[in-house]
Amino acid sequence: MLRSPDSKLRAPKTPSRGLFLGLIITLAAVISYSGYITRQISGLRELQNNLVDRNRKDSLQLLRIQNDLNSLGLAMRDMLDNDEPYPLTAWSAQFERVHTDLDDALRREQQLAPMNRTVAQEQYLENSVSQFWDAANRIFVLAGNSRQDEARTQIRISLRARQEAMSTVVSRLLVQNNEGEEQAADRIAQIYGRVQRQVYLFLTATLLAILFTSLYLIRSNRQLFARLATLSEQRSELAQKLISTQESTLRHISRELHDEFGQILTAVGAMLTRAGKHAPEGSALRAELREVCEIAQDSLEKVRSLSQALHPVMLEETGLESTLDWYLPVLERQAGLHVFYEKSGISFPIDGESAIHVYRVVQEALNNVTRHSGVTQAWLRLQFLEDALVVEVEDHGKGFESGVTKQGIGLVAMRERAELLGGDIEFAHPEKGSTGTTVRLRAQRERLVSHG
């Protein structure tokens, strides 16, 4: 039975579920974090647009207003200096230019005024400006009516004071904007701080997730490799058992053929020979009996041959080298393959159990040469080393087809037999760059002599 009795070899739990869970957690974390960051950035942008940028633009307009007020102040100074040869009405165009610009600046400033601007503040500025221009117009009317001194007095006691008051209001608004910008800067700093903390948290969580997932993957891999090793061992064991069973069966059939059928046919032959002697000389019966006797002899030869082919009994009786000495001429006769057989080293006895595996490897290798190489020559080398036996079967034929990775059952069996011998087997080209195949089996001496 192939079913393993070992409960440990049952399929381990698949890591996919764990990995999928980890992926979902990671994706959820990334999505959540992205959402969080997007929210923070939106908040930051809103803060900048609504507060910082608006404040900055408003401050620019306030500076423009301040500049206009300053121009008015300088113009009033020149008017009071009274060192120009022109009447005060000469300044009306200058005032008008500033008026136009001031109105535009105030309109824009009102649109940009920060949220914290109070209605009272806006009202105050509006009223101050309005009153200033009323006063200025009255002064220019006075000047136009040749009341220059009165107009100058009005400038001195009223118009300058109004201009200075407006300037103070604008300065206060600028300070307020500045404070607003500082507060916004604080809030921005807080947001950045928060985001920074969240980034660290997210990084930590991500690193932990990666760590746990990696550990889980390592553990799963280990289990998988262990299972693979067990399966490989089982497969090897099974193959070896199959080989042993096969050899045992073949040996049994071989012996039965040799011993039983051989004995029977030998007996039949002897009996037929004796019966022939009783038949009259030159009779038809005697001729037929001789013919039957020849058939029996022929069958006996075939049975012995088949028996040898299935399992050379010689292996146990006379050893590997004798078996090969017998086998190679048979092969040459049957398959037309001329094998150059070389032996080197001091031979040592190999027990029957091991010899059959060596023999089968040689047999399979030479069969492969016959079937696939397309050549009629091969070399078989037996090297008896001090600690090992090396068997090489070489041909100069087509060799292995490159790219063919699927191994035939014969090659698998050769590997398993090498395993059984505690050795290894390799398939290579005879020389670098040449065609053909070399099958090299190396088996440890101690296994060859003590096996079984």
Partner: protein, 587 residues
Amino acid sequence: MSRSGRGKSVGSHELSRRAFLNAGIASLGSTLLLPHLFSNSLHAESSALNPGFRFADVTAQAGIRFRHNNGAYGGKLLPETLGAGCAFLDYDRDGWQDILLVNSSDWPGHKREPKSETNSLALYRNNRNGTFTDVTRSAGLDVEMYGMGVAVGDYDNDGFPDILITCVGQNRLFKNTGKGTFIDVTNASGLAARQAMSTSALWFDFDRDGLLDLFVCNYVRWSPDHDVFCSLDGKRKSYCTPEAYRGETCWLFHNRGNGTFEDITASSGIFDSSSKSLGVAMLDYDRDGWPDLLVTNDTQPNKLYKNQRNGTFKDAAVDAGIAFSTEGRARAGMGVDVGDFDNSGKMGVAITNFHNEMTGLYRASDGGGFADVALQSGVGLASKDKLGFGCVFFDADLDGLLDLAVVNGHIDDTVRNVNGAGYAQPPQLFLNRRRGAFLDVAAELAGGFNQPKVGRGLAYGDFDRDGDQDLLITTNNGPAYLYRNDQSSGNRSIRFRLVGTKSNRDAIGASLKIFYGGSNQSRMVKGGSSYLSQSELPVTFGLGKLDRIDRLVISWPSGVTEEFKNLAAGRTYECVETKGISPEQGF
């Protein structure tokens, strides 16, 4: 390597490399302006080696030995850094442009050696053979004054141009007697009532009554008695920036027609005590036929005085986008000129500024506004490290497109010790490469044109009557330069000298438009422009290889419009208002 090391001996390899870089900058600008102009920039690069003309320094050859004196004795008085101007004028009406150079005097109590030498104006009469004769004394102009600028105009319509010299203190009006002499009519004209630190001035007929009126720029309220101590190092006195002084209004004087002027500064709406004006140009930016004024102010917003056709002006500079830089900052406006440099029929503007501020090059839009295209055009970056003063649009290569010449020079001779910017700086000539791209080719013009100078005044005029416009440059406390324009491209031109009958006799304010083969060009006869200077009044159109024009349309200041057809190139025409046109032999 400083540009001063170049000049005539520059190698061809270096020449081409520099031309390539210049073209690259210009092409960058043009690419920004119009993305499809790459091919144009290539054209600019390939032809930059041969601008089609050269300048020859003929100052000495022409007999001009003038040297400006700024009176500097170490007191570092503000006006010393600013003068002085120059003018091309035909004072004797012989058809040949003469030269007037303004000079300043020593400060009272600081007469420099030799004491006998005077620092008067210099009037050079054109000898019609490439040389000039100094006729200052015989003309009655050997008068010492701290002169700054000059405006030339026939205010009394007697056919002979009169001269206003702007000064620190009292401006002077010299009436041309028509007999080769001038008489000082400052007092008689009523101009003696005003004294200031005047700079540029121009004659124009703002009310179109046929009489030239006078506009005078004033810088700041300064007098030797009220000089302010300024210092860069806290110890030694240095020249002050204008922020240290109060502004001074410009003046507008109405010509009564009896040889006297009325100060209408206040009633016309020109009055502005915050102005610190250095340059003025006349233009018709709203194309209503009434002359407007563009005034450049130093550290103050420029003013665009729109003529309201009722004797008053209204400042429209902010709305027109020309008061401030594109960053919204008031720059140090110095010189100014206007011209239809893109042949759109609308007048563009060039304004020179302080170094690091770039020259402003404004293209007029259909709505009456201006857009600063200095960067896109290639003028901006090339002028960033320059302190520009005089600037004129003129067709240097006679290809039908107005080019731009600028003279540069710092105000402080110690500037190189402060921030490395040179005191003397090379003049620039930006060749118009079509489609808004300009390329400075000063280095290719020979004659030492691009040698660093402390440039101030700049004017053009065809003194040798060869049909192209020559340049006159003045320097602060240094010599004047006369550069003769020598064409090599074979380009042709056509010139017009206008004589008003109903309009003012100089026809200042008249606009001319020529049509040929589907193209057109426009010019205006204008006084003023540049810096402290005045160019010739005759108008020159470059025609490339054309030998005639289809039409000429003149819109006279009086409102009369005249049209003349099929005019041959290569000569000057005298156009008398309502009395036809007559060609002269050659130019």
